[in-house]
Symmetry: C2
Subunit: 145 residues, 2 copies
């Protein structure tokens, strides 16, 4: 089993219905929804939306004020046009604009938006990072698990 | 290409050398390291460590104080014993204990630790979530991409 793994990314949200409406308008299809939590199957891993207060309690930080942290979730695309489309689509369904798509110094094309809870998503194209047909990312030179 | 994707998770860190030493002591093997950023290949996605101030600048939030946000990254395991081992191993390399492994109401077994920058990791076993041999997670009933 690979050591370098994330199987579940849980985002704490202030209003689960609002967060769910946002992700589903963006095109995410729920796999499981239970009382207070929604799961979205990704490629070999899962994204969950879960109430912020419950998350703090779960994490052993009851009462913590959980805001937008020092973290970005990114979706990489194969072309600049796809980044433009993804950025426009995200804004259309209620994401907040942080950085409009632009060429960046490392040779790519990148933009940033925030979801309704402030979680930051990068929508980008990195010409040095080939994507598989399913949208998964394996770095050049990465060893097998 | 699947809509439900995270190709890159970037964690903002106060001290890249410290963060890198932590993850590598934990067993993460770097795939690429460049000036100011380290990339770890996961299963079809990548984890990056990147300076907190640079991350804020990149995200279009220059000067933002980026702390521990409302987010958990999780590693799921197949057995309670593996969770116990993973928790002990994380503490041994400098993770902070948040919640020691214990049975939880939803039928699983879960623990929480924080990395040196406060990013929260859940180390858990969910008996309803079978893992593939490589450690990837596909929920029962999840449709194909």
């Amino acid at each position: 089993m690979r050591t370098e793994r994330v199987t579940l990314v849980t985002l704490g949200v202030a209003d689960l219905d609002r967060a769910r409406a946002f992700y589903e308008a963006w095109g995410w299809r729920p796999t499981q929804a239970q009382e207070g939590v929604v799961f979205y199957q990704m490629l070999g891993a899962v994204l969950a939306l879960f109430g912020r207060a419950d998350l703090a309690e779960d994490q052993g930080r009851p009462g913590a004020t959980l805001g937008t942290g020092a973290m970005t979730l990114a979706q990489n695309f194969a072309t600049e046009a796809e980044v433009d489309q993804a950025y426009a689509a995200a804004l259309k369904v209620g994401a907040s604009a942080l950085v409009a798509p632009r060429k960046v110094f490392w040779g790519g094309y990148s933009s940033y938006v925030a979801d309704p809870d402030g979680h930051v998503w990068e929508l980008a194209m990195n010409p040095f990072w080939p994507l598989a047909a399913d949208g998964s990312l394996t770095l050049p030179g990465a060893g097998e698990a």
